[in-house]
Subunit: 474 residues, 2 copies
Amino acid sequence: MLHLARDSGATLTRQLTDQLRHLITKGRLAPGQRLPSSRQLAQSLALSRNTVSFAIEQLAAEGYLSLAAGRRPVVAAGLSLDRRKMSPRSSRAGSERMVLSSWARSLQRADWPPVHDGRPRPFQPGLADEREFPHDVWSRCLRRAARNAPLRRDRPINHRPLQEALLGHLVVHRGIKAKADQILIVPTAQSGLTLVADALLERGDHAWIESPGYGGANVALHAAGATVSAIPLDAQGMAIISSRKETPRLIFVTPSHQYPTGRLMPIGRRLELLRFAEATGACIIEDDYDGEFHYEARPVAALQGLATSPRVFYLGTFSKATYADIRFGYLVVPEALIEVFERAQRHTGMLTSITMQDALAEFIASGAYLGHIRRMTRLYKSRRDRMLRALAAEAGDRLATEAPAGGMQLLARCSGPVNDRQLSARLLDAGVASRPLSSMMYHRTNEQGLFLGFAAWNEKEIDQAARILGRILR
Amino acid sequence: MLHLARDSGATLTRQLTDQLRHLITKGRLAPGQRLPSSRQLAQSLALSRNTVSFAIEQLAAEGYLSLAAGRRPVVAAGLSLDRRKMSPRSSRAGSERMVLSSWARSLQRADWPPVHDGRPRPFQPGLADEREFPHDVWSRCLRRAARNAPLRRDRPINHRPLQEALLGHLVVHRGIKAKADQILIVPTAQSGLTLVADALLERGDHAWIESPGYGGANVALHAAGATVSAIPLDAQGMAIISSRKETPRLIFVTPSHQYPTGRLMPIGRRLELLRFAEATGACIIEDDYDGEFHYEARPVAALQGLATSPRVFYLGTFSKATYADIRFGYLVVPEALIEVFERAQRHTGMLTSITMQDALAEFIASGAYLGHIRRMTRLYKSRRDRMLRALAAEAGDRLATEAPAGGMQLLARCSGPVNDRQLSARLLDAGVASRPLSSMMYHRTNEQGLFLGFAAWNEKEIDQAARILGRILR
């Protein structure tokens, strides 16, 4: 029954253990059966006593054999997973498909996040041009951080040098008012959004999003149990209707360049929004998702820095200002909430490597971050203009665009009767990515359009993709 | 009113913009007030017409001024955040403290996660000895990955080479049965746990945890809305009582070495648990949190590989087998659920950098990972033995320990009448970290003890900390 091969790669102990285990699992050694003593086994198998003892002890540790001092090993009971031995009720239950929660099922139904498999395709929104990223500088920062890692033992979850470097940047360039420890470094902006939604919203609370707006906010607010109201935009951004019956607990906005229209929320509407939040006790999530890139003028100060009371959560990401793969978001929380948010961050495991945080701190402190942003701002502006010209030339009669004040993507509205989802699908077949406007609409409207990224593509790629778009629209 | 300094660091345009903005914000330029034309302003301030025009356009873009062709700029209305102008109701609401959700409040009350500020202290559980980690090898892997980053454009969220390298390890060493794409790479094991809980549990569903057991599971299951039952342990681990009225949707277990007792769940109980889950349709989260380190025998195959139907979610982390800061967890999901789990992963933003994933893939594929685990297994075993001896010598009359089958920490039960929370606090004052057993008990019991880490401390540190512990217990 047992075949031990001395020329096999496995040790004799291991072979014996595996074969005995197999015999027990298959029921050839039945539960309750008493084995020969290890001395007898050693003799009959021509093995050393130690080899057999090790195998017996291993199987006892795993629970296959019961040992008692001075007695021979006994095969343990209950080692079968045979379905036939289960009750009829069991096998029915066992064959059921796994049931997902309503949360998971709502994610399955949701039109977000859009999944782009394979290589990025021209016009795919949300992408920085990582070909332009100074990977050599970044690689040096990462190398230094990796080398210094063994020296660090005092390790908070949010790395102080990164908090300070980032704060310096945000104070100067975005008008943020905060202390360094108000900044949480999270895996992605989306995980920061999830944290705020979960920490502030009770089931049934009301929350507002812009419509059209960012799908990730819609899903996160729903997932937190909120009743989500879609507030349409007017020329200045989210049209605040203070006469609405239910006041929101949380308002999600993208004031730097509204997502997806690219419009800048002017100071008057910013203050109106803050006054409304003050008056109603609402909190605001300000998503400055690509707030680094402004083309027409210096950017308006962030809502966070304008607010007179701490009710704005400022959300940002490094994946637009550096490159998509960096996977770092940040969340500026009100000072009074630092402790509970760090706790929530630990609880949900939304932590990032200190080595990476350290590398990023140096990347910012060295000036490479701002230098890259400045260079990309010039480049992306020229690409934006190129794309506007190319779209006007190829599809000016079908698409209405306006120059976005900043960011990496623009919205092209369809002027004729078009189904933008079908259009988007046809474009994808032709190798051009887009996001249909209707999938970003959360109130009833017939507006159709395409959300298109210009930042990650060079002039030739932009022209080619615009030609394909023009051909398909005709 | 305007003071432009030609020797200041700021450009004249910027000075003019900032000062005009300030006058508007303070109400010195009232809403509706018409400014001089840019030509007049340029003359009176002795500035170039361009300088003034840029400033006016910037302020118009920000919304401070309204411009109409051929007319002078007008200060926009509604630019005050003055509290006195708000309605009485408003200021009351505005001065309210921010209200947290019941989720956030439950986290505030929860005794988990324990927060260790500052440097790790001897006996602190959950830590690997990062002084022993081959940081030089890791740094090389990271460097190569950083250098190669610009070459990659096709980028799924879970990096195939890491999935494959990890799968190879898990198949050989843990008996996992899976395909590579069933492995999700998440920021931490805790974030993987959160994903499973949220995707499977409906509000009011029943879930089981071990008692004593892992606090992170308790919090995650509660946060997902489950009614959590604490199942006491017997000598074989979680004591399955199939006569309980409510059957669980989800069962959380740590079979490799039970957390915190360190016991191995023998094969009989493993199969009993799987049969129970099959019979009731329950799913299982198997947390193999430090399953790499086994001291007495080769480890028992993971539940995941033993199951005959796909109902086990296998959870692991790299932070024990490498070092704490790596911040990488992984989750093996049933094949039918890959798509919905990847969607949930994107939705919650539980993503990690591909560069880091790539570095880790090489670290595993090169053999450095397994080599490190082998070396640490020998080292940690000797430290476990050293700690058992030191505790016996210093506090053998007050503490009962049993050698854990693996892992990096052990449970010392108090034999006398002791309040373990107070004891733990006094120890911390003396520079020794621990986790009181009572904080890990979820059913009613008077058992008291200390959960102590031995892996991260050398022999001298272990002896010293044991002496302090002995002194405080006396």
